[in-house]
């Protein structure tokens, strides 16, 4: 008898537009049981600050299922139906590879602005080195945190989640990104959504 497959942590993120963004959170809460059934441990919702109706939803799942089987789950299709999304967006599925979180500044206690991008880069280990070497510049530009996720299906694909001090600094970061932030230029290409600028809306933890 072969051993049961080990469970693994998967970060699933999709970015899409809904007709009524205020319905997203209550609908997610009403699906807690179904989310628990697929191994979801937490769900985070971000809403765009400048693009009404655009949301980014990240689900952390712990599952023994292969990712393809997981994504075929009726939970996702029923979810898109419920929030009124007809065209299903491309979905990022991967894992966290590095968190860059310099010590928080005393003046940075207010909630920041989230900048998220998915893109293809040449070399992920090199990118991590470049971010590490450029952290001083990142901080000077108002970047508080940088989280790097690597896709399971493509060795070049990353999702980068950053928290910046405010919307002005977020816009400057996108318009004139640091040399160690090449993913900004790669967002919006092909299946990748354009750079997301938004705020953390809420987080739901799901008991096993």
């Amino acid at each position: 008898m072969s051993p049961a497959p080990r469970s693994h942590s998967i970060v699933i993120t999709s970015d899409y537009r809904v007709p009524e963004p205020e319905r997203v959170w209550p609908l997610l809460q009403s699906r807690k049981r179904e989310l628990a059934e697929i191994g979801a441990q937490s769900v985070l919702v971000y809403t765009s600050t400048h693009d009404y109706g655009r949301v980014m939803v990240t689900i952390l799942v712990r599952s023994r299922e292969p990712i393809r089987e997981l994504l075929r789950s009726r939970v996702f299709f029923e979810w898109f139906d419920a929030v009124g999304v007809e065209d299903i967006p491309a979905v990022f599925a991967g894992e966290i590879v590095k968190r860059f979180e310099p010590s928080p500044r005393l003046d940075a206690e207010a909630p920041g602005v989230i900048v998220a991008a998915m893109a293809s880069v040449h070399d992920i280990p090199m990118l991590l080195d470049e971010i590490g070497a450029g952290l001083g510049r990142f901080t000077a530009a108002g970047v508080r945190k940088t989280w790097v996720f690597r896709a399971f299906d493509d060795g070049h694909e990353v999702m980068i989640l950053q928290e910046l001090d405010d919307e002005d600094r977020a816009r400057k970061w996108i318009e004139d990104p640091d040399v160690a932030a090449p993913w900004i230029a790669g967002a919006g290409v092909g299946a990748y959504p354009p750079v997301f600028i938004g705020k953390f809306f809420d987080m739901m933890r799901i008991e096993e």
Partner: protein, 58 residues
């Protein structure tokens, strides 16, 4: 990116189908299965049809 959730097809596989000559969403479905079931990923497939393959940043 997973483009077609029904069949678990990624954007890379779709890009390969396009590089292999698929020039419509129907041809992509025939080549790799993306969009062959519910068809709700066709908008993304159309976007990929307009993208030069292999674009990377950094």
């Amino acid at each position: 990116m997973f483009v077609c959730l029904c069949n678990g097809i990624t954007s890379q596989v779709v890009a390969d189908a396009i590089a292999g000559g698929a020039s419509t969403t129907k041809e992509i479905s025939k080549a790799c299965g993306a969009g062959a079931e519910c068809g709700r990923c066709r908008r993304t497939l159309r976007k990929l049809l307009g993208t030069p393959s292999g674009e990377r940043s950094g």
